[in-house]
Assembly symmetry: C2
Homo-oligomer: 320 residues x 2
């Protein structure tokens, strides 16, 4: 099969053997795969991953597969836990220390014609949700995790830091719970798109004038400045949700966290069923966030576009 492989130095399109599903796993023929900023960070050294990146996908479950999956369009959760350690038994398999992660750690990912995942990880896609919408499921699930970790009511004043794909989904998910919501971004084109969806956006430089003005700030910036920026926005005893992961170091003085008795809540992957339900009910608009789709062969253009200004989600069309 054709696959994009990262050897630690660069990505290249090459021919590889199809993955062989292990017991309980299903082979998936990949239709569409999204490029995520985690993929871009991987190419910069994040997680020291070697192999096929890509973890946002829509594909067709191949037989043999359980009946709920066989022949259907599916997307999938990316963590492959060991299933037997204490964290797995506590239902926290996404934190299993022996886990592999699709396209991020050990397990080859979705920038290939085929991938393999445990049947338990796979979710059928409702018929009314298109491939182009469903490729946002993994990212939308990560946004759905925010209100799982932090109480958001109609009265909660929420700031979202960042103007990327995750930020654009986070405002929509949080906007279902509160109207007191402001997104701080830097890219005028992306902020224009987010504004057009009905959300208040402000340039990041205005954040300094809003010190302490929010109960909750969510860092979706994917950059080292995001966490200190979010901490500066919340009131004493406020909460910062940290979604950003990146290679490299942040420089800041965390004394303000102690003095303001601020809580920082790290948050990662989230619930796929909730995300698929939001897509099915049309409560979150993802199509304005789909910047472009390229065939796998044009992956270099696709990655360049994904990194570029004004770009939300770029996807690779891989198979039928």
């Amino acid at each position: 099969m054709k696959a994009l492989r990262f050897d630690g130095h660069r990505l290249s399109l090459r021919s590889m053997r199809r993955p062989s599903p292990r017991r309980g796993e299903v082979l998936v023929r990949v239709r569409l795969a999204g490029i995520c900023s985690t993929d871009i960070e991987i190419l910069r050294g994040y997680m020291e991953f070697r192999g096929v990146p890509g973890h946002e996908f829509v594909g067709t479950a191949q037989s043999p597969a359980p009946r709920r999956l066989a022949g259907r369009r599916v997307t999938g959760e990316i963590n492959l836990p060991c299933g037997s350690c204490g964290l797995c038994r506590a239902g926290l398999g996404k934190h299993c220390p022996r886990r592999s992660v699709l396209g991020i750690s050990v397990r080859d990912g979705a920038f290939a014609e085929y991938l393999a995942l445990p049947a338990a990880n796979l979710h059928p896609i409702p018929d009314t949700v298109s491939d182009e919408e469903a490729v946002f499921t993994e990212l939308l699930a990560a946004a759905c995790e925010i209100p799982e970790r932090v109480r958001i009511t109609r009265r909660t004043r929420v700031a979202v830091i960042g103007d990327g794909r995750l930020a654009a989904l986070a405002v929509q998910v949080l906007g279902l719970r509160t109207d007191r919501l402001v997104l701080f971004g830097i890219d005028p084109a992306k902020m224009e798109t987010i504004s057009s969806l009905g959300y208040e956006t402000r340039p990041a430089e205005e954040a300094t004038g809003c010190a302490g003005a929010f109960d909750v700030a969510v860092d979706c910036s994917g950059s080292p400045g995001g966490l200190p920026g979010a901490v500066g926005l919340v009131r004493p005893r406020g909460t910062v949700v940290l979604k950003s992961t990146f290679a490299g170091e942040a420089r800041w003085n965390p004394s303000t966290v102690a003095v303001g008795e601020i809580t920082i809540v790290g948050s990662r992957c989230g619930p796929f069923p909730a995300a698929l339900e939001l897509l099915e009910r049309g409560l979150v608009k993802v199509m304005p966030l789909l910047t472009a789709i390229y065939p796998l062969e044009r992956w270099e253009t696709a990655f360049r576009r994904a990194r570029g200004r004004g770009s939300f989600k770029v996807a690779l069309e891989i198979g039928p």
Copy 2:
């Protein structure tokens, strides 16, 4: 009166006018004042404070004062809130944005023969608690705040990072709730003292071998490496309590907080009544932590001693 004043460059002993208590305030004749690492950070530029530092004290309330205080030995809470803003009305006066803080922000502090504080800030010291014990009240209250913010049960595995005054009090307060407690420090002499109180201590370099081994880690290190170190010690979904404040910057990658879905809880001043009760009931041993007492005139030696290795609490004897 005699007072130690910091002019932004150096500390010097000088003659100053006695503070004039405002309405509702009480003049306190200072007997004993502790040197805290915050004081040492202030001399390095923390909070850009100019004036008389010192915020840990035992003194005698002068008349006029409410009957519960007049002529009695007292210690006092250090935050002077405005009393009328939203945070003050919500009972969070210690976070009032217009507050002054004794010896830390605006308000002259305890390294002087007299200080003034609102009567509401002052707590009479039980007769069975000596001056030397009571000078630990403010710091012990900060330790008592930890279990107010984070649930600690008999089964909770707790790490304390640091071997200073606050760490030595934190292990004692947390040791009342769990036996599964380890302190990681660097100064062998201080760790020996903490061990002799009956607590398990380990050299900080052993922390790397304990990655993810704790449910809760409390950073009392007062240094930039404390927070990343504490994050490394807790399991996925674990909690880090951040007590450290310092001048300067920390360099680290907070991605691990997002990936491990770790919670960081900033924590500052705590409840004085709880601290005084622990001292009165003898549940916390502070005398082994009193390294030396110097008369005010020997403040230079005292500060040198407070900064030195093997030193816990150094206090200044100021008045009768």
